[in-house]
Symmetry: C2
């Protein structure tokens, strides 16, 4: 099609106009109404606001590859709790996650091949945080939160696994 934008990113930015035209929630306060921060994966098949039946303004949503509790997630949670009043955290990983499909060494070798030696050296400074067991990775991330002096004991922490085939979250006790 002649008029199709060459860039999907540009097309997405342009389609924001439709949203803005019908937008009527311009007066929500900054602090999340439900006082909950959710940590989950960047995966395109996850819509955490929808799958938790949350409304705009309800929850903080932190997402990265895997939904792993990295240092940057701790940074975000401290701001969420200390400055914006959240009191609970939910860590949600998901079935069929890309993080289950590789090891650091695989990705380092791939970057050597695709991006060259300089990038390969840079990549080796990173732990890409892949994992082999879904329930184990959720428990490990909850443990990281519990061990952090920056996440106080009165913050309640929950874990779950989202099933991309059924839309269900299994709670990890």
């Amino acid at each position: 099609m002649a008029n199709q934008p060459a860039s999907n990113a540009k097309a997405l930015l342009e389609s924001n106009q439709k949203y803005a035209e019908r937008f009527n929630q311009g007066n929500l306060p900054i602090p999340p109404a439900r006082k909950v921060a959710v940590v989950t994966c960047m995966d395109a098949r996850l819509d955490p606001l929808a799958f938790l039946d949350a409304k705009l303004g309800d929850i903080h949503v932190i997402r990265n590859a895997g939904g792993r509790v990295s240092e940057d997630v701790i940074r975000s949670l401290v701001i969420s709790e200390q400055l914006l009043g959240t009191e609970e955290i939910i860590v949600i990983h998901h079935t069929d996650c890309g993080m289950l499909t590789f090891k650091n060494e695989d990705l380092y070798a791939r970057i050597d091949d695709t991006l060259g030696e300089k990038a390969g050296q840079e990549a080796r400074k990173y732990d890409f945080l892949p994992f082999a067991d879904l329930e184990e990775s959720v428990r490990q991330d909850i443990e990281t939160l519990r061990q952090s002096p920056l996440i106080p004991e009165n913050i309640r922490i929950y874990g779950g696994i989202y099933d991309v085939h059924t839309g269900k979250v299994e709670v990890i006790e």
Copy 2:
């Protein structure tokens, strides 16, 4: 109300049942259909899938405090690009962001007061990445991406500012 759950997090997890009952998109592929990764803020007033009029399965969504390009965001983008085929990045910060309201020193002092000395010492290992100018912070984060040897030149990068009062994204050229 006597029956109201004491925990909002638990209530959110329980309300997932409604989503799962009507869920009918269990066969989406792992790679994002639109080949775009969006980096944006955890703010409760942002629903990036909705404000970009994207569908489930379309885009990777990476979110943290501020939508800042931290090391963890680079980690996620490398996985997004190298293993899941995304070709474009959009960095979107937003008006009325909590990150505009404090400096690192303020947050360190607050943590000394609320969580004690041990936590205060731990906090000082962190740059919480606050910023004073919204357009400047987007440009800075785009520059960080362009400088990274792990983000190759053929990846197209866009920036925007989402207005929480109007729902509009202003593109940063």
